[in-house]
């Protein structure tokens, strides 16, 4: 036994007793919202609209079935335009005890919005979540693209407790604000964003160079490799998956393979909602002790 591995095994777990790693499965239910809705080009493009609408209409219910089959809880980041137009599909997210969280109203690009506009979007979303679903979310994932320098503090003051927007770490951390400690960040990575492997569209073209859709078997192996790597090192793994992309009929089998890999580890994986992880992180790191 080398000194190095001895140190490694002695390292305390970041997670509750008996848990080696945390998994925060997360899905962005964008539907038809996004750039084409924001610039108005979607109005004359029903082919692209229906491609996006497939997500809440067909993909989400089957994804919820699959999660429940494996007893997994997840977080759904939902633009509130989608909540307004598919209320019953969204209600089932809560009925199945998953978490629902902020993702803009039209999937706005926050870096292109002023602070006031960002705040207006958050208020509009909160009103819709409260009136339509009777819930006030505590989490936020920035819709496509970046957020601006003020966003983290603005969200914190708005009452959000965590974000899952950044890419630069493999475990939670705190954002800093001018007043001190801010939001918990639960970072993700492009490696587990289904757009990088599976999304494909023409007019508008995605990816820009119209690269090929990856083979499903390869995608499943990569995603499982990502999860296993995080689990081996005892980290926090979240996903950036979109029902309209990853929960098409044949791709649910990719997810099923992933869910099997996660549940095969039993209780040593803390598979839970982002909010539980954020609350745990806050409780474990008292501010004045830092």
């Amino acid at each position: 036994m080398t000194a190095k591995s001895a140190t490694k095994s002695a390292k305390p777990s970041l997670w509750p007793e008996g848990r080696r790693s945390a998994v925060a499965l997360a899905f962005d239910v964008d539907g038809p919202t996004g750039d084409a809705m924001l610039d108005g080009s979607l109005l004359s493009n029903p082919r692209y609209f229906t491609q996006g609408a497939y997500g809440p209409w067909r993909a989400l219910p089957r994804l919820l079935d699959l999660l429940s089959e494996y007893g997994l809880k997840a977080t759904f980041f939902v633009p509130t335009w989608v909540v307004e137009h598919w209320p019953s599909q969204c209600e089932r997210i809560l009925r199945d005890a998953h978490e629902i969280a902020y993702h803009g109203h039209y999937h706005e690009v926050f870096i292109d919005c002023s602070s006031q506009q960002q705040l207006d979007i958050m208020k509009r979303s909160r009103d819709i979540f409260r009136s339509r679903m009777g819930v006030t979310p505590v989490g936020f994932r920035t819709p496509s693209g970046d957020w601006s320098d003020e966003t983290a503090q603005l969200l914190h003051e708005f009452g959000v407790i965590y974000s899952s927007s950044m890419r630069g770490d493999d475990r939670p951390y705190f954002h800093t604000t001018s007043q001190g400690r801010g939001l918990v960040e639960i970072p993700g990575r492009w490696d587990i964003d289904d757009y990088t492997a599976l999304a494909y569209s023409e007019d508008p073209d995605f990816p820009i160079g119209l690269d090929r859709i990856s083979g499903y078997a390869d995608v499943q192996r990569n995603w499982i490799a990502e999860f296993e790597g995080y689990h081996r090192e005892g980290l926090c793994w979240t996903t950036i998956l979109h029902p309209k992309v990853c929960a098409k009929p044949g791709r649910l089998a990719i997810l099923e393979g992933l869910f099997k890999a996660i549940t095969a580890h039993g209780d040593s994986v803390w598979a839970t909602r982002c909010a539980e992880i954020a609350k745990w992180w806050i409780a474990q790191h008292p501010e004045n002790a830092a």
């Binding site: 038809p32 108005g40 979607l42 109005l43 004359s44 493009n45 029903p46 082919r47 609209f49 229906t50 491609q51 609408a53 497939y54 209409w57 067909r58 219910p61 089957r62 079935d65 137009h85 598919w86 019953s88 599909q89 089932r92 599976l198 494909y200 569209s201 023409e202 007019d203 073209d205 990816p207 820009i208 160079g209 119209l210 690269d211 090929r212 859709i213 990856s214 083979g215 499903y216 078997a217 390869d218 098409k248 009929p249 044949g250 791709r251 649910l252 089998a253």
Partner: protein, 299 residues
């Protein structure tokens, strides 16, 4: 509430429907993207290969599998390849409309659109053994309420939009058989050096991987009781190296006796006969509501 039970029930107690469709554009789809292709004989011959060899090879594979398929053909291609279509395709396959000459219906007045749609249908009817009643949007966007124009021009169904994995009805009662990019061959196999197709000159993927994904989709469509539509093009899968993918996929599909493997026209007529209307939160109706909301200046 569980949706694993089928969303749709199929005739004769079948579990799911499967349609093999062929899009035969003879290069018109590429010329729309790169108009100078017609003056580049080497590059254009990449697409001409479809008529030269691909059509016959696909038809042999279909004959070996004992199936009838649905072909979408622009009216002008029916003129340039009348003999091939009449002798090789129409005896056992359905021929349907892919417009006239890759026109954009969102860039012309409704009367002109209806005239072209009729012209295409009438021209194709000359060589088809079926009554032409189906349409696939060639280029441009689907104009709002285009379903009404198609009905006016004598069509009963379309396979142009997305939004579902079982047939649905437009407000006019035109049937839509939704199609998905991952079940087309072109996104995987189209390649030309200059002009570049695809734009990023992406690598050609592993054939085995593509077949694996197409079969994974089929297995899931069967599991969920849906309507599987594979879309092939003679220039991309009617080749000596890739016809084996078509053969393997068809062998897989025909190995099940609970699959309604039929033409798009049959599926559309069956759906129309069942008289179901799409619910308010169906993508096609949410699209209509979205346009109305935006026009009303709700934002």
């Amino acid at each position: 509430m569980t949706s694993t039970a089928s969303e749709c029930s199929w005739p004769q107690g079948k579990t799911c429907a499967a349609i093999v469709s062929v899009i035969f554009d003879d290069g018109l789809d590429a010329v729309v993207q790169a108009p100078d292709l017609k003056g580049r004989s080497k590059s254009f011959s990449v697409w001409q290969y479809g008529a030269t060899r691909g059509v016959e090879r696909l038809c042999h594979a279909f004959a070996d599998a004992g199936i009838s398929t649905s072909w979408f053909v622009p009216g002008i291609v029916a003129e340039s390849h009348e003999e091939l279509l009449r002798d090789v395709v129409s005896p056992r396959h359905e021929i349907e409309s892919h417009g006239w000459n890759f026109e954009c219906y969102d860039a012309m007045p409704a009367t002109e659109a209806v005239d072209l749609l009729k012209r295409s249908r009438e021209r194709l009817n000359v060589i088809a053994s079926n009554e032409v009643s189906g349409f696939r949007l060639p280029a441009g966007n689907w104009p709002r309420r285009f379903d009404r124009l198609l009905v006016e021009a004598g069509y009963g169904w379309s396979a142009s939009l997305n939004g579902d994995d079982v047939p649905y009805s437009h407000a006019s009662s035109l049937v839509e058989i939704p199609v998905h990019y991952e079940l087309e061959d072109r996104p995987y196999f189209q390649f030309n050096f200059t002009p570049a197709f695809p734009k990023g000159q992406s690598r050609i993927p592993s054939y085995e991987a593509v077949l694996g994904s197409w079969i994974a989709e089929f297995d899931a469509y069967r599991k969920y009781g849906l309507c599987y539509v594979i879309q092939l093009r003679p220039e991309w899968t009617g080749t000596p190296g890739r016809i084996a993918l078509v053969e393997a996929l068809l062998a897989h599909i025909t190995s099940f006796d609970d699959v309604w493997l039929t033409t798009a026209g049959d599926v559309a007529r069956w759906h129309a006969g069942n008289g179901t209307t799409a619910p308010g939160d169906h993508p096609i109706n949410v699209y209509e509501a979205y346009v109305d909301e935006e026009r009303a200046g709700e934002r």
